[in-house]
């Protein structure tokens, strides 16, 4: 008999983890975010980033973008556990669908005089950040980009007088013509 795929091997080695971005469509009703956040905390999963906003006002549907890290098995569990929540319509794993577009926006306040101030403005220009506010000794910049770009920008600002950071978390969408509801249903999904 061939070795079954379902056997668990006697090994303490942890399987590799991977970062996934999930798009979740939910009814925008009271408590829905608490349900989702509670599912993650109650079952011991991580949330790296969470972005929520109502996207279809007439239908009261919100889109939640969650970035999480886990083994393949954990990610599968997260998706099915999300899908069984009653107000959840649809869970789409954008990472599985292909390389998704991911952007986040950050606001960065820096304070400084002289060379540091000039350097801050020059770096902001290099990153394509917008200057939203300026005083004689401070700037507030806005940068939209991938998480990596935002991280790099914030790190550099740290050297030239970083005071404060505010980030939105990730908004994500798949590439190409297909909408997320047109994608093939994952196995066992409720398809509603």
């Amino acid at each position: 008999m061939t070795q079954s795929q379902s056997a668990y091997f006697l090994s303490d080695a942890q399987p590799p983890t991977r970062r996934h971005t999930l798009a979740v469509l939910v009814d925008n009703e009271p408590g829905v975010l608490a349900r989702i956040a509670g599912m993650f905390s109650g079952r011991g999963y991580n949330i790296e980033s969470l972005t929520v906003s109502e996207t279809e006002h007439e239908k009261h549907v919100s889109r939640i973008t969650i970035v999480t890290t886990g083994t393949e098995k954990t990610i599968e569990q997260i998706k099915t556990q999300l899908d069984r929540l009653v107000p959840v319509h649809r869970v789409v794993d954008l990472t599985v669908q292909g390389e998704a577009l991911e952007r986040e926006l950050c606001l960065v306040k820096v304070r400084g005089k002289g060379d540091a101030r000039v350097e801050a403005l020059r770096l902001a220009g290099a990153f394509g950040a917008r200057t939203l506010d300026a005083t004689l000794n401070s700037f507030v910049f806005e940068l939209t980009g991938t998480t990596e770009e935002v991280e790099r920008f914030i790190r550099l600002m740290g050297v030239v007088g970083l005071v404060e950071v505010s980030r939105t978390g990730i908004a994500a969408m798949s590439r190409g013509a297909e909408g997320m509801l047109e994608a093939a249903l994952p196995d066992g999904a409720q398809g509603r």
Binding site: S6, F9, G31, R35, K73, R192
Partner: protein, 586 residues
């Protein structure tokens, strides 16, 4: 068609429209308008419990024995928090419950008002879904939606929190519709291609075993009938979890008995040695799998479950089929006819020979005594003396529960009510109250331990009030028996706080509750005493004094695999069996 009525009247009207005839509850300030509406009608019978936890367990017993939704009505604050254990129990065992909780008026919410608790916050994690109704316009929809959500897909408890001002407000009531939720549509039919693959895998297997669970019971009597048809058509062995007992008749030769931590030797070794496992409506719980990395190492696994998140959660399977058991079984029975001819008959015969060898080990044998009642003997006698009756059994939690599962035989579904997932001591007595209300003419026995039964003993008052002839059969060993057994196996026999000291006189306690008390400590007199209990037309507490330090075997010790069971004739030092790693497990 819509009618103008108050929120409280809508609650009652919705119960009527949902076919509810019985609800379990306890009044309080925040539900007085609903109690007032109840007072003015005769369609719905209210059963007054003595503690809100008892209300939920009674509703669970009612639901599980009748296939209907169990309905609970409690007040705000402590009423709701007392219900939490029952709701969690119903969530883990997938029992359909609708629980109405009163709430302080909307303008007081968040002000730490008298008897205010964040009920939707507290019950979010122990319900399938919950609602706080803040407007009378939402109430009719939510009422019907709750019944829909509780019953459809994997069943579970649903809480509706209704502030007192909403109960007084007037609005338009709407009758229920078919699909009562705008988006929630669980998958009922299984994927036909996968079901076809499944029956082909069964036909090709040399040593398959069916492993079934509570999902078959939840799917209804039709599912149990189809399961019997399929299993008999294939000729292969079947075992079941604690929650699934009764779906397949225990008197059938293909039945291996229950599996898992206290399952039979043949069931567990069949699971360990099979080449194909067909899981129907069970969930690879840790009480079943034992050590997960040594769980049935050589088998392919098929898993049929209505809840997609159950598939590949604990054990990775080769074929997962999402769907309702009855629907999937119907397709399997039909498709089996096409592949039945491919069964390898010599392999099947060899598999049964191997299983018969394991059976010959007689893992449920025990050493009987003449001077003391062995708990196993007591249950064997209860089984023998109640055979042929329409009999419902509930249990508390512990050794007696496992012995009941081992020594009582269930030939029909919905006859066995026990707290499986949560393991709630105090479940059995109120559950028996609920079962008896659903089946007033039938025999309802709660197999109990002396420690567990005290946790909700106050419900004897409910039994007395409604003249419910429930029989509380206490296997009294003066210990929290399972705790004591684990202390013997894991903690050097240091019986820390597990002795049931200062027990009440159960006979006098029965009399105090207007019931009959019977005590027996002599094996020779046991039969007559059991018959006296059965024949008595009212509630009975039977104090069966049994051997104090009997262990519940067979047992898969913590951290061990199915093929490393402790059998009843184990003669060595039980303290040496479990290693350091196993001691950390529960």
């Amino acid at each position: 068609m819509s009618r103008e009525m108050t929120g409280a009247e809508m609650v009652i009207q919705a119960l009527i429209d949902q076919g509810v005839s019985t609800l379990f509850g306890y009044p309080g300030g925040a539900v007085l308008p609903i109690y007032d509406a109840l007072f003015q009608q005769d369609s719905v019978k209210h059963v007054l419990v003595r503690h809100e936890q008892g209300a939920v367990h009674a509703a669970e017993g009612y639901a599980r024995s009748s296939g209907k939704v169990g309905v609970v009505l409690v007040t705000s604050g402590p009423g709701a928090t007392n219900a939490v254990t029952g709701l969690t129990d119903a969530l883990l065992d997938s029992i359909p419950i609708v629980c109405f909780t009163g709430q302080v008026p909307t303008h007081l919410i968040g002000s730490d008002a008298f008897q205010e608790a964040d009920t939707v916050g507290i019950t979010r994690h122990c319900t399938k879904h919950n609602y706080l109704v803040k407007s009378i316009e939402d109430l009719p929809r939510v009422l019907h939606e709750a019944f829909y959500v509780a019953q459809n897909g994997r069943p579970g408890p649903v809480v509706i929190d209704i502030p007192k001002d909403i109960q007084f407000k007037s609005g338009k009531y709407e009758k229920p519709r078919d699909n009562q939720h705008k988006t929630y549509r669980p998958q009922i039919k299984g994927d036909l291609g996968k079901i076809k693959t499944a029956v082909e895998m069964i036909a090709k297997a040399k040593r398959p075993v069916f492993y079934t669970g509570g999902g078959v019971i939840n799917s209804g009597p039709h599912a149990a009938a189809l399961l019997r048809e399929l299993v008999r058509a294939t000729g292969y062995p079947i075992t079941s979890t604690l929650m699934g007992l009764g779906a397949y008749p225990a008197n059938d030769p293909q039945w291996l008995g229950m599996l898992g931590m206290h399952g039979t030797y043949e069931a567990n070794l069949a699971m360990h040695g099979c080449d194909l496992m067909v899981n129907i409506g069970a969930r690879f719980d840790d009480r079943i799998t034992g050590r997960i990395d040594a769980f049935s190492p050589g088998s392919k696994k098929i898993h049929i479950d209505i809840d997609p998140s159950s598939i590949n959660k604990n054990v990775k399977v080769d074929l997962g089929i999402v769907g309702d058991c009855a629907h999937v079984l119907e397709d399997m029975v039909r498709l089996w006819k096409d592949v039945a001819g491919e069964v390898d008959k010599p392999a099947q015969k060899a598999w049964w020979l191997q299983i018969d060898g394991w059976r010959a080990r007689k893992s449920l044998a025990y050493r009987n005594a003449t001077d003391v009642i062995k708990p196993q003997y007591a249950l064997e006698r209860l089984e023998a003396l109640t055979q042929g009756r329409k009999r419902f059994i509930t249990t508390e939690v512990g050794q007696h529960q496992m012995w009941a599962a081992q020594y009582l035989h269930f030939d029909e579904p919905n006859r066995w009510m026990t707290s499986g997932g949560l393991g709630t001591m105090g479940y059995g007595l109120p559950a028996a109250v609920g079962v008896q209300l659903a089946h007033p003419k039938d025999l309802v026995v709660c197999v109990a331990g002396e420690a567990s039964v005290l946790m909700n003993m106050q419900e004897m008052s409910t039994a007395a009030q409604y003249r419910l002839p429930i029989k509380i059969f206490i296997l009294n060993n003066e210990y929290m028996g399972m705790v004591r057994q684990w202390q013997e196996l894991l903690h050097g026999g240091r019986y820390s706080e597990s002795y049931s000291a200062a027990l009440p006189d159960f006979v006098k306690l029965a009399e105090a509750y207007h019931a009959k008390g019977i005590r027996c400590d002599d094996p020779a007199k046991l039969d007559a005493a059991i018959m006296e209990m059965i024949d008595y037309p009212g509630p009975v507490i039977f104090d069966c004094l049994v051997a104090k330090e009997e262990n519940c075997f067979p047992m898969i010790p913590s951290g061990k695999a199915h093929n490393e069971m402790i059998l009843p004739d184990f003669e060595g030092d039980t303290g040496e069996i479990i290693d350091a790693k196993g001691k950390q497990l529960v």
